[in-house]
């Protein structure tokens, strides 16, 4: 469990990092929290010649609010998210999600930007981002662009992030006050990926759903936005039948792969079950 040899670089600014990326191209990998890449390097499945550590770039850190938008530096750690007063108040879904990621030590190192740009549907932030309608700030040699979470995830480890680009920030529109939320995650044990999970935002008016946002973790090649399920809820009274219909529609878009966690049938059923539970909890948290 020893990595192959590589050169280490610790740029202190984004331009420097971009410069290094350009210079070393294919042979270079970005290092954020390192809890996906380093184990892979120790198993010698990954052997980059150059490791570019983003850990010393101050402008990639921090959580702030900017006119109704929460802006997180891509290198913001899960632990910083968990303890952020701002997020606890204005975006509790993200806090709830972060608390369910891996284990305490990993959450000190793991970053939201790394989690998202890794493009792994088993990671939790992709679904959270889809549910929250977030967008990502990507910077490359040719400048900066902001892309929505929807459409960012192309496939396993395949995202909109181009070679030579770095994700610098995550922008999340502050959910309206009184929005119900829940991240329901089923996992085998601490530190495991989700067997299936559902992220839900719910805006109610009385018993009627004004807006529902639902995204699923680890039941397809990418995190999935359950659009049909969302549409089915909009304008309806939230009850057992509507929740059931939404769950069925959510299960309809699942295409999980069998592994030690279970077969496709089980994982699909769990995606439905997590959707039901997330909707019910979100309902109890939503102001009517």
């Amino acid at each position: 469990m020893i990595p192959r040899e590589f050169e280490y670089h610790a740029p202190s600014s984004i331009p420097d990092a971009l410069g290094l990326l350009k210079k070393f191209g294919e042979g270079a990998k970005l290092l954020a929290g390192g809890h996906s890449l380093l184990p892979m390097m120790k198993m010698r499945f990954a052997a980059p010649e150059h490791l570019i550590d983003l850990g010393r770039i101050a402008e990639l850190r921090g959580i702030r609010e900017d006119k109704g938008t929460i802006v997180l530096g891509a290198m913001t750690t899960e632990n910083e998210i968990i303890w952020s007063k701002l997020l606890q108040d204005k975006c509790p879904l993200l806090v709830e999600g972060a608390r369910l990621i891996s284990d305490p030590q990993v959450r000190y190192k793991g970053t939201i930007g790394g989690d998202i740009s890794h493009g792994d549907p088993a990671n939790d932030h992709p679904a959270l981002m889809l549910a929250l309608g977030a967008s990502f700030v990507l910077r490359g040699a040719s400048g900066e662009r902001t892309v929505p979470a929807e459409g960012f995830f192309h496939g396993l480890y395949d995202t909109e992030l181009k070679p030579g680009e770095i994700m610098t920030a995550i922008r999340i529109p502050v959910p309206a006050a009184g929005t119900g939320y829940c991240y329901a995650k089923l996992k085998r044990k601490t530190g495991d990926f989700a067997t299936a999970a559902a992220a839900v935002l719910l805006r109610m008016k009385g018993d009627t759903v004004q807006e529902a946002s639902i995204a699923l973790t680890n039941v397809g090649p990418t995190a999935l936005k359950a659009k049909a399920a969302e549409a089915a809820l909009k304008g309806k009274a939230l009850g057992d039948t509507t929740i059931e219909e939404a769950a069925k529609l959510a299960m309809g878009i699942c295409e999980p792969t069998a592994d030690q966690r279970g077969d496709a049938q089980y994982k699909t059923a769990m995606a439905g079950e997590m959707t039901r539970r997330a909707l019910r909890t979100a309902r109890t948290r939503a102001a009517s």
Partner: protein
């Protein structure tokens, strides 16, 4: 062999300088170059927490941190817990509450609990079980480890008061 790099950091209050390959893992530098064998290696895939050390105020698994990332950092290991010949309340608690058996996970447990109590000085049993879940123990079943952390929390609170 890739060019070695000089890395300087603060280990348990003392400045140390090491010359390492970029690929060298912090756990190996601590154990083999700096003779700090308290932190142990249990899984190498960052699941067991036996290698836990405190890095700039974070509990981290030193099997998944590169030494070159520690330039200028403050590193605290089990060896740095005892102050002026006096055991830390956690070390005392693990002994008093029989929170260890084979002792292999103990340094990581204590180091992790140290940071936990900095962030939450009065944790409930449930909170302790949640915030200590990055450290595996095969001997104790955790029940006495929970007691040990509570023992230390009380003791530290009394001291502070």
């Amino acid at each position: 062999m890739a060019k070695k790099q000089a890395v300087a950091f603060n280990l348990n209050g003392k400045q140390v300088d090491v010359l390492v390959e970029p690929r060298e893992l912090l756990i190996h530098t601590l154990r083999e170059k700096l003779a700090h064998t308290g932190p142990h290696i249990g899984c190498e895939t960052s699941h067991c927490g036996a290698c836990t050390v405190d890095l700039d105020g974070m509990s981290v698994k030193s099997c998944t941190v590169l030494t070159v990332q520690c330039e200028g950092a403050k590193v605290l290991t089990i060896e740095g817990m005892e102050q002026g010949g006096a055991l830390h309340a956690l070390q005392e608690g693990f002994h008093q509450e029989h929170g260890l058996q084979c002792g292999y996970c103990t340094p990581g447990m204590i180091t992790r609990a140290y940071r936990l109590l900095q962030e939450n000085p009065d944790p409930t049993e449930e909170e302790i079980r949640y915030w200590m879940a990055g450290n595996l123990c095969r001997c104790t079943g955790y029940q006495n480890i929970v007691k040990a952390v509570q023992y230390a929390a009380k003791k530290l609170a009394a001291k502070a008061a």
